[in-house]
C-alpha cells in the first residue's frame, strides 16, 4: 500500500487543489466549506501516513514530477525531516475541526467570507507540506511564499482592532526575509548553475567560490531566522500570534515558525555535505541566539496577562531550544532539537486550542479575568494544565525528553553553560505556568460570568483533549520519534565526523 509512488505528490497537490476549489464547492451552501476542508485534510493525512511508513521501511526516497531527471527537473525528496508532514496534517485536521464553531463565532468575521478562511487554511497547510518535502531550492522559495502569504492573510482575518497592523508588520518582516532567501537562491544558482539541493551540495564540494557561498549562507540563515522568530528578529511574532483566531494561532505557533527551522536543517544538509565552509562560526551564533531566545522569551512571557500573548512569547523561548540544539551540532542535541519541532507543535497546538475554547466560551482573554474558570470548564483547563507541564518539561511528558536530549548535547559538547541556560529557561517557564494554573483553579473569580459558562462544545473539546493526551503519550513513548529521527541526524552530522 505505502509503495504507491504518487503519495508524495498527493500530499502537496491535494490541499492546494482543495484550497482552490473551496469557494467553488461552497457556492451553494457555505456550510459545506468546513466539511470539504476536513475531507481534503483526511486524504492528505492518509498520504502522509503512507509516506512516513515508507520512509521508516526504506529510508529516504525521491519523486520526479513529470519524470524529469534531476538536476533538470524538480525533485521531491522525502527523508526523516520531511516526516513533519504527519504533524502538519494532524494539527491541520484538528484546526479545521476546531474552526467549525470558532470561526462562526469570531467577531469581525463576515459569515460570507468563511469559505475563504478555509481556502487560506488549506493553502497554508499545502504550502508547508510542499516546503518540507521539496528537494529543489527555488521550489523551496515558492512554497515558503505560499505558506507565508497565506499566514499574513490568516492573521488579518480576525478583524480585531490591531489585527491588520499586526498582519502588516508580519508581512513586512516576512517579505524581507523571503527576499533574502530568494537573493541567496540566486547567488547559489550563479555559483553552481543548479537548483537541486543534492546537486548544489555536489557542485559546492571543492568549489573555488567560497566567498559567494558564505554570502548565500548568511542570507539564508537570516531569512530563516526571521521566519522562525529567533530572538533579535522575533518582534513580529507576539502580536501576530496573539491576534489571530485561536485555530490559526495553533497553526502559526506550532507549525509555521518551524518551517524556518526545517529550512535551516536543509541548509545544514547542503553545507555539511559540501564541506566548503567551516560552519563553527555559524553554530556559535545559533547557540548564543538560541540561549538568548530561551531566556528572553520566557522572561517576557512572565509579565503578560493576556493568555494568548503569553503563549506566543513561550513560542519564542521554545524556538530557542530547537535552534540551540541545532547549533550545538552534537548527536544528542540535534535529535533533541528536531524532535522538539514535532513535540512543541503538539504541545503548543493543545495550549492554543484550550485557550481558544476558553475565549470562545467567556469572551475573556486575560488571566485576571479568567480566574476560577477551572470550576466551570474542568476538561479544557485540565488539558491546558497537561500542556503547561509538558512545555515546562516535567517528566513523563513530551517536552521532557527533547529538553533532556538538548541538555545532554550541551554537556556532550562541553558547553555546560548552555545546559544551565536551558534549565534556567525552564524555571522561568515554570513560574508563568504556575501563575496560570493558580489563576484557573485557586483564585477567587473576578468576573461573575466566568461561573456561568458551560464546558466547551465537542468540536473544540476533541482536538484539545486529543492533543493533550498525545503530550502524555509522546512522553511515555518518547523513544519512537527519537529512534525514527536518528538515521537522519546521523546522516546530517556524518560529514563532520560526528
Amino acid at each position: 500500500m505505502y509503495d504507491w509512488p504518487h503519495w508524495l505528490i498527493v500530499v502537496i497537490v491535494a490541499p492546494l487543489l482543495g484550497a482552490a476549489l473551496t469557494p467553488v464547492v461552497s457556492l451553494g451552501d457555505r456550510r459545506v466549506a468546513p466539511w470539504w476542508a476536513l475531507g481534503v485534510m483526511t486524504v492528505t493525512s492518509v498520504a502522509a501516513v503512507m509516506l512516513v511508513m515508507r520512509v521508516s521501511a526504506e529510508g529516504p526516497f525521491s519523486y520526479l514530477p513529470g519524470g524529469w531527471r534531476p538536476p533538470y527537473g524538480i525533485e521531491l525528496r522525502f527523508d526523516e525531516f520531511s516526516a513533519s508532514v504527519i504533524v502538519i496534517c494532524l494539527i491541520g485536521w484538528l484546526a479545521v475541526l476546531f474552526s467549525l464553531r470558532y470561526i462562526e463565532w469570531q467577531p469581525g468575521m463576515a459569515k460570507a467570507r468563511v469559505p475563504y478562511y478555509y481556502a487560506l487554511l488549506l493553502l497554508n497547510l499545502g504550502g508547508m507540506n510542499g516546503f518540507v518535502v521539496t528537494g529543489d531550492l527555488f521550489n523551496l522559495f515558492v512554497f515558503l511564499e505560499i505558506l507565508s502569504i497565506s499566514s499574513y492573510a490568516l492573521v488579518a482575518v480576525s478583524g480585531e482592532r490591531i489585527a491588520e497592523m499586526a498582519a502588516f508588520k508580519y508581512l513586512l518582516m516576512g517579505a524581507i526575509s523571503s527576499l533574502l532567501v530568494l537573493f541567496a537562491v540566486g547567488v547559489i544558482l550563479s555559483v553552481t548553475g543548479t537548483l537541486n539541493m543534492a546537486d548544489v551540495a555536489r557542485q559546492l564540494t571543492g568549489s573555488a567560490h567560497a566567498t559567494p557561498a558564505v554570502f548565500a549562507l548568511g542570507m539564508f540563515t537570516v531569512g530563516f531566522m526571521v521566519k522562525a522568530a529567533l530572538f533579535p528578529v522575533h518582534i513580529w511574532l507576539p502580536d501576530a500570534h496573539a491576534i489571530a483566531p485561536s485555530p490559526v494561532s495553533a497553526i502559526l505557533s506550532g507549525l509555521v515558525v518551524k518551517m524556518g527551522i526545517v529550512g535551516m536543517v536543509r541548509l545544514y544538509q547542503i553545507y555539511n555535505t559540501a564541506g566548503l565552509i567551516d560552519l563553527r562560526a555559524l553554530n556559535e551564533v545559533l547557540i548564543w541566539l538560541g540561549a538568548l531566545s530561551i531566556v528572553m522569551g520566557a522572561f517576557f512571557a512572565i509579565f503578560q496577562d493576556d493568555i494568548k500573548l503569553m503563549l506566543a512569547y513561550s513560542t519564542i523561548s521554545n524556538i530557542g531550544y530547537i535552534v540551540m540544539g541545532l547549533g550545538l551540532s552534537t548527536h544528542y542535541s540535534v535529535i533533541g532539537g528536531v524532535v522538539h519541532v514535532f513535540n512543541h507543535a503538539l504541545i503548543k497546538a493543545a495550549l492554543f486550542f484550550a485557550a481558544g475554547a476558553l475565549i470562545y466560551r467567556t469572551g475573556l482573554r486575560t488571566l485576571t479575568a479568567l480566574r476560577g474558570i477551572g470550576r466551570t470548564m474542568p476538561v479544557t483547563c485540565f488539558a491546558l494544565s497537561i500542556g503547561a507541564i509538558s512545555i515546562v518539561g516535567i517528566p513523563p511528558t513530551a517536552g521532557f525528553l527533547c529538553k533532556w536530549y538538548i541538555a545532554l548535547g550541551a554537556f556532550e559538547a562541553d558547553r555546560p553553560l548552555f545546559g544551565f541556560a536551558l534549565i534556567f529557561g525552564a524555571l522561568f517557564i515554570f513560574i508563568y505556568y504556575i501563575r496560570m494554573v493558580n489563576a484557573f483553579y485557586f483564585q477567587q473569580p473576578t468576573r461573575p460570568e466566568v461561573l456561568e459558562v458551560s464546558e466547551a462544545p465537542a468540536s473544540m473539546l476533541v482536538p484539545t483533549v486529543l492533543l493533550a493526551a498525545l503530550c502524555l503519550i509522546m512522553g511515555i513513548l518518547g523513544r519512537v520519534p527519537l529512534a525514527f529521527i536518528e538515521p537522519g541526524a546521523t546522516r546530517l552530522l556524518a560529514p563532520l565526523g560526528g
Binding site: V142, Y152, E164, M165, F183
Partner: protein, 117 residues
C-alpha cells in the same frame, strides 16, 4: 578589491538597490512608502537573478533558423517570472491591509498608529 567590485558592478548595483529598499522600509513612517521600499528590494533581487543568466555574446535561447550558440541561460527568467507573481500577490495583500488599516484608524502613518495602540 575595487577592480573586483568594478568587474561585478551589476551585482554591486543590485546589492545597493537592495539596501536602499531596506533603508526605506526602516526609515519611513508612511505604510505606502514602506511598501514601495519592499518593491524596490524585490526589483533588486529580480535584477540580480536576471544578470546571473547573462552569457557574453549570448543569443536568446530560441531554436530556429539562424540560431547560433552560445545562448543566454533561460532558467533565471523563468525564476524571475515566478518571483514577480509572488511579489504581485504580496503587494496586493499589503495594499488591502493598508486600506483596512486606514478605514479602521484613519491614518497610515506608523508613528500615529503606534500612539493609538
Amino acid at each position: 578589491m575595487f577592480e573586483a567590485l568594478w568587474d561585478n558592478r551589476d551585482y554591486v548595483a543590485a546589492v545597493v538597490l537592495f539596501c536602499i529598499g531596506l533603508y526605506v522600509i526602516i526609515a519611513k513612517d508612511n505604510l505606502i512608502k514602506k511598501l514601495l521600499g519592499l518593491n524596490i528590494m524585490e526589483t533588486a533581487v529580480f535584477a540580480f537573478i536576471v544578470t546571473v543568466g547573462v552569457v557574453d555574446g549570448g543569443e536568446p535561447p530560441i531554436l530556429g533558423p539562424g540560431a547560433t550558440p552560445p545562448y543566454a541561460s533561460p532558467l533565471p527568467h523563468a525564476l524571475v517570472l515566478t518571483g514577480i507573481v509572488v511579489a504581485v500577490s504580496t503587494t496586493a495583500l499589503a495594499l488591502s491591509l493598508i486600506i483596512r488599516i486606514h478605514r479602521q484608524c484613519g491614518t497610515i502613518e506608523a508613528d500615529e498608529l503606534r500612539e493609538m495602540e
